[in-house]
Subunit: 258 residues, 2 copies
């Protein structure tokens, strides 16, 4: 099967012109098929602030009121997505910006209220990997915003890591899939203070002890949970790396089944 890389990029790197342009240069230079999934949280928070809308985060997740849903739909689906698409087109990459509503590519449901009401936040029910595979086979690079829809006319805000993992899983029947999470650090670090202490390989045997020792904790826990979920579903490899090192296949932490 042909190889494909699903690349999740978030944080400052996609929201500042210089770093975004360098990233897109690297992505354009990468050989093979690819899908891009982006965030845009800082821009959403900044726009919300200018509009006098308070940003409330609970356990790293944005509480999404109706007003905030408008903000993230504008920022993720509009500004960040279209900027990336136009910049990829300038690099001769035939990008197509998508939310989950477009071609019904990711459908989900509003997260039920348990102890916390996250508002218009969605959990993924199904990704149409066949539709994506058919676009990709025509030379198109999907650029996916972290927004899905509920089938009843509502957009829903969704975590970009989740979108990336679910998209990667949906492509397993069609491609040999690698999932790359780009973030600010060099990878999963043995010592959080030392960016050179990257753990180059984590598998399902070494993982539990890393959690036990407290090496993997905080925001890294859901990221690795997403990674192992993707591996269990047939994704070949998950890489957690610094965006600047995207072109270096050896860099970062490589998460594999065993």
């Amino acid at each position: 099967m042909e190889k494909i890389t699903v690349i999740k990029v978030g944080g400052k790197i996609v929201e500042e012109t210089d770093s975004l342009h360098r990233l897109l240069d690297d992505i354009a230079a990468m050989p093979g098929l690819k899908v891009l999934v982006h965030g845009g949280g800082r821009s959403a928070t900044a726009l919300a602030q200018r509009l006098g809308i308070e940003t409330v985060m609970i356990e790293g997740r944005r509480v999404t009121t109706a007003e905030m849903l408008d903000v993230v739909t504008m920022v993720y689906g509009g500004k960040v997505n279209k900027n990336i698409v136009a910049q990829l087109q300038a690099r001769k990459i035939n990008a197509l910006g998508l939310t989950g509503a477009d071609m019904n590519v990711i459908r989900g449901h509003k997260r039920p209220v348990k102890t916390v009401d996250y508002g218009w936040v969605g959990d993924v029910d199904a990704v149409d990997g066949g539709m994506l595979a058919s676009l990709i086979s025509k030379g198109i690079v999907p650029v996916m915003a972290p927004l899905i829809h509920d089938g009843n006319g509502n957009m829903l805000n969704t975590n970009a890591d989740t979108i990336a993992a679910e998209t990667a899983k949906s492509l397993v029947p069609y491609f040999d899939v690698t999932l790359v999470f780009c973030f600010e650090k060099n990878g999963v670090l043995r010592d959080a203070e030392d960016d050179n202490s990257v753990i180059s390989r984590i598998d399902s045997q070494s993982y539990p002890s890393l959690v036990e020792q407290g090496v993997v904790s905080g925001g890294m826990l859901p990221k690795l949970q997403n990674a192992f979920d993707a591996l269990h579903a047939g994704v070949k490899e998950v890489v957690i790396t610094k965006a600047e090192n995207l072109a270096d296949c050896e860099a970062g932490t490589h998460v594999v089944e065993k």
Copy 2:
């Protein structure tokens, strides 16, 4: 050849929930293939105002500074487009939101500065009708925002009537194309004060005298110019009608070559 209708909807109707829902019900009920082109100017002006950005219009066209380009990219490409797409999906219409940057579907160039500097406003160079036709033949309904790109990484703000006319023309090799401009009035009126004075048919023979008599003037002039351009390029019929009458094939003004 199979028939297709390119429907341009703008104004308040796409920006207020109740009227938008009625419109989308009508569009969902229309038989045959279709493409939707939307505006969103009122929402863009409202967001700009909340952000303290002044809206400057010259001859009905929005002067688009870098700040205003962000606003229209967010409003047209994000909020309005994704809201329509999600609402069409709820009506079992497989909508796909597009700007000109997506799949390079409409490329253009920044309007050269003559007497007026419109800023990041674009004139259309080429619409990829083949790409649109291939999507449409798979059951997809393109929903097009009035934004194009310049191939150098920049989005450009473009008039939605122009997008609709250029899109209709690009589909002529593939379909039997009707172009419908929905707006606030019943059609082209003989007496601007009387919404029942619709001129039901205008052709290239009757048009010059309507201009001479001053019946066609103001904002209607570029709309009819767009209409005749489209007819010259092979579009079969252009209809100018009230959005509420979309389902009534006899309503409105029908513009034909002769």
